[in-house]
């Protein structure tokens, strides 16, 4: 019976076995990396998948596993992590855990005053295994396979072939010349040779020297004491800091509670630029939606006219910006708007003289105008298309009735067209708002958020929107990567988007309708 089952499901069992093996491997590696918090996750995941594929009762879930794995690892986990990280100071200089940072600092050494200097000879056998002989006046030391022991200069394993007093071979290992040593220096540098209660480390190309740990750590008081100077460094906000403000890098990450959010709102050097970026994000998303919709609707009304000749041709030409990849056309626009060489300024100068040159992308106000203009170009064809569809679904009899009652064109537009359009298009307009709220490509490819806001402690520009500001904080800052602060901005955007979506669902009743259908 069991044999039959195994035969029938051999492939499946082998694959599941492989999966579990990989999970165990990842778990072991994670433990090796001291990432205890997540080490159990691969095992849990693999266990769950194995259960789903072996249990007949859970058959439908088998179909969902592939998609869910990606969704949970690449979307759910990162979103959760972002929210958690926003309560920490993780970033450049604060990437390690406290234990890792302490271990790293404790491995640092210095040469004490009574240090003994050793010259050395390095040997390597055919397999590349290295043996070192350290020579000092008080005796020689053999260091091999991570173990140090005393060795007598007359030891039989040391063979002096040319009789110059220096050994050329160590049993079957051959002496390395200086050029052969150079590529191995980083390997030698990592050696911490423990011998007779002292520590010996590489000093320079030709010497080793006794060394002592530079720092002593007291876990009780959480202080690091520098053995060379006697200065005491206290753990403070994720970095060991002396009384005079000196810090020892690397630091480590610590929980900061709401500090990142508080800084965004109350620290004037952070909150000033942040508030500007925040307001501009809303203004941009709102204005661009209104502008694009207005021009799109106007164009749609124009080309929907049955008496207009060439209207099919016009529609095809008008839709061109929508048919091309935005990342390319935004870059083309940034060339056309170039202050010195761009075609637009050239035309202006030709027509009106040098005074007409406009700082399209350099001036704070004009850069915002340029962004709206380019996004209008990119977005109004889409609005035209959806408006055309909606216009055609309005019954002509409504207009006829209005005309019989003597309504003017404007009255027909106000009382019939607009209300009947806004009903189906409302959710799409909210969607456009939400899309532009995070329209990173437009900002980044056109202005990179420039021009910069003067006096900002965090990097921010006049045209930055929240998402490009987040990107800057996380990956482009002059003060390194402020990942914790960036995560806090991300989390705020999450909240804003959730609010907009809730509003959209409430308005359209889409959620109720969907949950009826599921």
């Amino acid at each position: 019976m069991i044999g039959h089952y195994v035969a029938k499901h051999a492939a499946k069992l082998v694959l599941l076995g492989l999966l579990c093996a990989v999970a165990v491997y990842v778990c072991v590696v994670l433990i090796g990396m001291e990432a205890y918090g997540v080490a159990a996750l691969p095992l849990l995941g693999a266990g769950l998948i194995t259960y789903i594929f072996l249990s007949e009762k859970r058959y439908p879930l088998r179909w969902l596993v592939p998609g869910l794995v990606f969704l949970s690892v690449m979307v759910v986990y990162p979103i959760g992590y972002t929210i958690v990280a926003s309560f920490s100071n993780i970033g450049t200089g604060h990437m390690l855990s406290k234990e890792q940072a302490v271990t790293q600092l404790l491995s640092r050494t210095y040469a004490p005053d009574d240090a003994v200097t050793y010259t050395y000879i390095a040997f390597a056998d055919t397999a590349g295994t290295v043996a070192l002989v350290l020579q000092a006046e008080n005796g020689w030391i053999l260091y091999r396979d991570g173990v140090a022991s005393a060795i007598d200069p007359s030891d039989a394993r040391l063979v002096d072939e040319d009789g110059d007093g220096a050994p050329d071979r160590f049993s079957d290992s051959v002496r390395l010349s200086i050029p052969q040593i150079v590529p191995r220096l980083s390997e030698f540098e990592a050696y911490r040779i423990e011998y007779g209660g002292t520590l010996i480390g590489l000093e320079n190309l030709s010497q080793f020297r006794t060394r002592a740990p530079q720092y002593a750590y007291d876990p009780e008081s959480e202080t690091m004491t520098d053995q060379t100077t006697g200065v005491v460094y206290t753990a403070l906000d994720g970095i060991f800091t002396a009384e005079n403000g000196d810090e020892i890098y690397p630091g480590y990450w610590v929980w900061k509670g709401l500090a990142n959010y508080v800084a965004l709102i109350t620290n004037p050097q952070v909150s000033g630029p942040f508030l500007r970026v925040f307001l501009w994000t809303f203004a941009f998303a709102f204005l661009t939606t209104v502008l694009n919709f207005t021009l799109g609707l106007g164009t749609a009304i124009l080309v929907n006219d049955p008496y207009l000749r060439f209207r099919t041709l016009y529609r095809v030409i008008l839709v061109v910006p929508y048919a091309l990849p935005a990342f390319v056309t935004i870059l083309v626009w940034s060339g056309m708007l170039n202050q010195h060489f761009g075609i637009i300024n050239q035309v202006l100068v030709d027509l009106f003289g040098q005074g007409a040159r406009i700082e399209w992308l350099e001036d704070a106000l004009m850069a915002k105008v340029s962004i709206l203009l380019v996004n209008l170009w990119l977005g109004y064809p889409y609005m035209m298309i959806i408006c055309l569809g909606a216009l055609q679904s309005i019954s002509p009899s409504l207009y006829e009735a209005a005309r019989v009652d003597g309504a003017t064109w404007w009255q027909q537009f106000r009382k019939i067209t607009l209300p009947l359009l806004l009903m189906p298009l409302g959710p799409l307009l909210v969607g456009t708002f939400a899309f532009n709220f995070n329209n990173f490509n437009l900002i980044w490819l056109l202005t990179e958020g420039r021009p910069p806001i003067a006096g900002a402690m965090t990097p921010a520009g006049h045209t930055d929107i929240l998402i490009s500001y987040t990107y800057r904080l996380a990956f482009e800052g002059a003060r390194g990567n402020q990942l914790g602060l960036a995560a806090a901005v991300s989390t705020m955007i999450f909240v804003i988007i959730a609010t907009i979506s809730a509003f959209n669902f409430r308005m359209t009743g889409a959620l109720e309708e969907l949950s009826k259908n599921v």
Binding site: A35, Y59, L71, M74, V75, I79, D305, Y382, F475
Partner: protein
Amino acid sequence: MYNKHTLLGGLWRHALILFLCAFSIFPVLWVISASFNATDNMQLQQLIPPRPTIDHYRQLFTSDRYKFASWLINSLKVTLITASLTVVLAGLGAYAFSRFRFKGRRVGLLSLLLIQMFPQMLAMVALFLLVLSLGEIFPWAGLNTHTAIILVYLGGAMGFNTWLMKGYFDTIPRSLEESAKVDGATPFQAFYKIILPLARPILATIFILSFITTYGELIIASILLRSNDQFTLPVGMHLMIADQYSQRWGMFSAGAIVAMLPFLVMFVLSQRSLVSGLTRGSVKE
């Protein structure tokens, strides 16, 4: 709402539309012209090139400074793999949601809907750290690899596409598979042999949608890809224009034209299958 035009009425309408057409198409004509113009200098360019040449295209593919050919291949590779796998993954999930009744189905569908509302790129900090540590375990899936970026894209595409596909599967009558099951087909055979051929339009739609979004993705690619020869087109071309481009405008323009082509092909294809997709606002804006 519309009347026959008077002469004047016809005139201003055409004038207005021609102005809009010029607005829409000028940048495109300008960049096409620049790509064939003999001069590389933006300021000397004329709209009708006096001596048209394909030199810029040749430079583009032989330049040492920019690895345009690699970017193009990288972009196509990442986009095609992502789009294909998205179709497969979304198809499997959508079939389960559409055809099986199981515990957690309703919760699953609604959570998918909620999750897909949050743009994945907002979690950029976490994605960066995740891929960084992934690379320490599996170097072939770490920073600066296409594997990593495809894995990230696949996650981001799941929610929306599963919903879209499920909606379509719901419209295919169940009786078709039931008769197949009577003949002894397993659920997978019914899915593969009956549903998939019938669902070809939605498979094409999702492939195209995924292609279009992935092709222009900039932020995750900028974070994860580090070296010139691994860049995708958006990252590479951004680099190209950040760097003294007014003196290499011809080459940039040639690159722009080449980069537009795959997208344009997809757009034209999409017009057949995407008509309903457009009105749902499911494509880029």
